[in-house]
Amino acid sequence: MATLIKANNIVKKFVTGTHEVHAVDGMSFEIEKGELTVIVGPSGAGKTTLLNLLGGMDNLSDGNLFVDDVDISKFNKRELTDYRRNEVGFVFQFYNLMPNLTALENVELSTELKRDSLDPLEVLTSVGLKERVDNFPSQLSGGEQQRVSIARAIAKNPKLILCDEPTGALDYVTGKEVLSLLAKAAHEEHKTVIIVTHNLALTQMSDHLIRVKNGKIYEDVRNPHPKDIKDIEW
């Protein structure tokens, strides 16, 4: 399998007054195409900062970050926006859907930005929301909203799908449904999916596990036999 992401000693510092915090303090790793990667670690370990760097939401302070052999660490603001626009799909803990758009329109909002995107209706059907396409977010349950958000990420046909605590606001059963959708995207549709979480149970479903603590990676392993999400309990 080909490498999609190559992080080379990446650093992100935040300066607050005289204080300098290294949220990401020299991490190096590689992520293959079509892999389901889970990044775990306690709060404040630097997971979200790492996700922001991978998603082009923030600049690196140091190091190189290659995505499909292109070094995004040198990107300016505009290039980063284009990178997010074309290469990345996001799934957030609180869904972040536009309240004034229907489920379908929320997906269209992201697909209209990119030429080779997938048909929004088909993608919504594939996440099981065919009957709900004309509903507004407020008319959907949390799980349904998160499925819209996954559809929004997938429909763009990005190189990379980034998920920040995707089950954080959901109950157990709904959370599992959402995770199996993400696993399906990686294993059946060969999308590269990265999930950031503090839920250690999720590590069992991953192809690739990265554990972070204090801004550093302390474990980076591949799991040749990921468990089906249905068989994982927490």
Partner: protein, 641 residues
């Protein structure tokens, strides 16, 4: 309750923009209303200087028989104890061909130039003092020049033939200007109608105006004059055509009491002199300078009564928007305080203070700056038409203070009402974030064929616009208000321009142009503040949506279109509704002012209003672009709401 005091201080610190918007809108409103409210009494006082200490004639009698007034007639008038003094003189308009100036009509006064009644004020030079030798030059003084009266320097010569002074046994006479004076009855540049006869037909010529006013001193004529060899007393030649009368006890000028008193005197005098066939009685009300100023000032006064209603409304509207927004943002804090047992009164007090301080500052500053500056700015325009004197800023306008207080009071009432209604919710309900208004199908979606064709981005904008109806109504009302104000400015300008061609109004109307310009500028400033605070609120409301768009890869420019499209659309909608509504209102305003008609308003004024509001909106959007750029993706996405 130290921490509560701290939250109050922090509220001011964190809401500088809102504080400034609230302050500015009140400042502008009070500045313009106070300015106009002060303008009227200030100018009146300044203009009345022209009638001070000179015993201005309250009434002029004009003889209609060819006999003129005698000493006996003066005695008859003076039988009225209230007469301060009465004096007769000769006044005649004569037409001449001047080698340089062409056809000229001069009005001659032959009178006692030192008379204390309707005393002439010497502007420069001196009064004639040598006894007249009519075979040589005759010293005269002339009325001060202006746009419609020739201006003469001391030493200038005016050569006239004998059509006036037929008693002079020579073809021409040279008048030597020794001084320039101001007659209290001539105080504006308005053309004076002349009474000259057509030499062929013997009829009074129409549309003729005085080019110069020349005064000769009756007291300097020799006692007798020769007429074909025989000496006659000079009185026989100087027909006393006019009589000035001034009264001791009278009401103040420009009052209706004064007008009534003079009409009463007029009736009495007509009676005394045998009716309108024998005599014409002209009161000060019929004097062009006096009546024009009175008419003009009453229009500005009427205008100053219309403005406040409108401004108080806009201030209340902007304040309502500000406070609602402020409370909404501080909801969690309010909840905490309520649950900790802080009284609701104390919480209301917090927002009360915000409004009080911002509007009070605005009101006081608006009062302090508007009341001297606006009259000062408009003064040259008045000065171009009327003879004005330095303004006496000790003059007060109680009305301006009432408006200034009302603006603050209305804002405070709005604040109290909106914050108490908010606090009706239980602490538990307050603790929960108010969920954002859900998306809804809007009416437009039912027109399927249209909706389908709408570009995607527009669908979202339209839904947003109609989702928040309160917002839509407030925004539209504010913009309709600004439209009205801009169109009023333009209308006054057009009407002025139309009336300028009217002989009756002449130059006077042109100075209304300056007033209209001031109104337009204020209207634009207000539109900027109003649209800015609305657009700013819109952005604040949309932080999360904007952050989402950014994450999805929308560029800053595209994100700004997302919010600006709504503001532009509301703005367009409001201005499209606003123009016909304003036209209707202005029709009534002009009627009320008795100043032109809506038909005088040119088509390009409507277009100009439309463009000004549209460009103001665009300008505000540009102003707010940095705020869109500053929306932080990471901060906004983590928050649940």
């Amino acid at each position: 309750m130290k921490s509560f005091t701290k939250t109050i201080l922090r509220m001011f610190k964190e809401n500088k923009g809102r504080f400034i918007a609230n302050f500015l809108i009140v400042f502008l409103s009070v500045a313009i209303t106070a300015g106009f409210a002060f303008l009227v009494p200030l100018y009146e006082h300044s203009y009345l200087e022209n009638y001070q200490n000179n015993h201005t004639a309250d009434i002029i009698l004009k003889d209609k028989t060819t006999n003129g007034f005698s000493r006996y007639d003066i005695e008859k008038v003076k039988e009225d104890d209230n007469v301060y003094d009465a004096t007769t003189f000769m006044c005649a308009d004569c037409e001449y061909e001047d080698s340089e100036r062409g056809t000229q009509i001069y009005r001659f006064y032959i009178m006692d130039l030192k008379s204390k009644l309707n005393e002439l004020k010497l502007e420069s030079g001196k009064f004639p003092d040598k006894e007249y030798d009519l075979s040589k030059e005759v010293d005269v003084v002339t009325e001060v020049g202006n746009a419609n009266l020739n201006s003469y320097d001391i030493g200038d010569k005016i050569v006239v033939d004998d059509s006036l002074l037929r008693f002079i046994q020579q073809d021409t006479m040279t008048l030597n200007v020794v001084g320039v004076v101001n007659n209290p009855l001539y105080n504006c540049v308005q053309k004076e109608n002349a009474t000259v006869l057509d030499k062929k037909t013997g009829e009074v010529k129409e549309d003729t105006y005085i080019n110069a006013i020349i005064y000769l001193d009756r007291e300097l004529f020799p006692e007798t004059m020769d007429y074909y060899g025989t000496p006659y007393p000079v009185e026989n030649f100087l027909l006393q055509t006019d009589m000035y009368i001034s009264y001791k006890e009278k009401s103040s000028y420009f009052s209706s009491a004064y007008e009534n008193e003079m009409n009463q005197k007029k009736a009495e005098l007509l009676e005394t002199f045998g009716g309108e066939d024998k005599i014409a009685v002209l009161t000060l009300e019929e004097n062009i300078s006096y009546s024009l100023f009175k008419n003009y000032n009453s229009k500005v006064r009427s205008l100053s009564f219309i403005f406040p209603f409108f401004f108080i409304l806009v201030c209340a509207l902007v304040n309502l928007i500000t406070i609602t927004r402020l409370i909404k943002e501080e909801r969690p804090m309010i909840a905490t305080y309520v649950s900790l047992g802080v009284s609701k009164g104390k919480i209301v007090l917090k927002y009360f203070l915000f409004t009080l301080i911002s509007t009070l500052f605005g009101s006081v500053l608006g009062m302090a700056l508007g009341s001297p500056i606006l009259p000062g700015v408009v003064l040259p325009a008045y000065g171009a038409v009327f003879q004005m004197h330095p303004l006496d800023f000790k003059i007060q306008s109680p009305y301006a203070y009432i408006v200034a207080v009302l603006v603050v009071l209305t804002a405070l009432i709005v604040t109290i009402l909106s914050s108490t209604s908010y606090l009706k919710e239980t602490p538990a309900a307050l603790m929960k974030e108010k969920s954002p208004k859900p998306g809804k199908k809007i009416f437009l979606q039912r027109i399927t064929f249209l909706w389908k064709r709408l570009p995607f981005r527009f669908k979202s904008s339209f839904r947003n616009i109609f989702r928040q109806k309160k917002n839509l109504i407030l925004t539209s009302l504010s913009i309709i208000g600004s439209t009205l104000l801009v169109l009023i400015g333009f209308s006054l300008f057009d009407v002025s321009f139309a009336l300028q061609e009217d002989v009756l109004f002449g130059n006077v109307a042109s100075s209304m142009g300056v007033i209209s310009l001031v109104i337009i500028l204020f209207a634009i400033a207000m539109a900027i503040v109003v649209i800015y605070s609305l657009a700013n609120m819109n952005i604040a409301d949309r932080q999360r949506e904007l952050a989402t768009l950014k994450v999805l890869g929308y560029h800053d420019r595209e994100c700004s279109f997302y919010t600006f499209r709504e503001i532009m659309f509301i703005s367009l909608l409001a201005v499209i509704i606003g123009i016909p509504v304003s036209t209707l209102i202005i029709t009534f305003v002009l009627q009320y002012l008795d100043f032109g008609t809506i038909g005088d308003v040119k088509w390009y004024s409507y277009l100009g209003t439309f463009l000004i509001i549209t460009f103001t909106t665009l300008f505000v959007n540009l102003l707010l672009f940095p705020k869109i750029k500053a929306v932080n993706m990471n901060d906004s996405l983590k928050i649940i709401d």
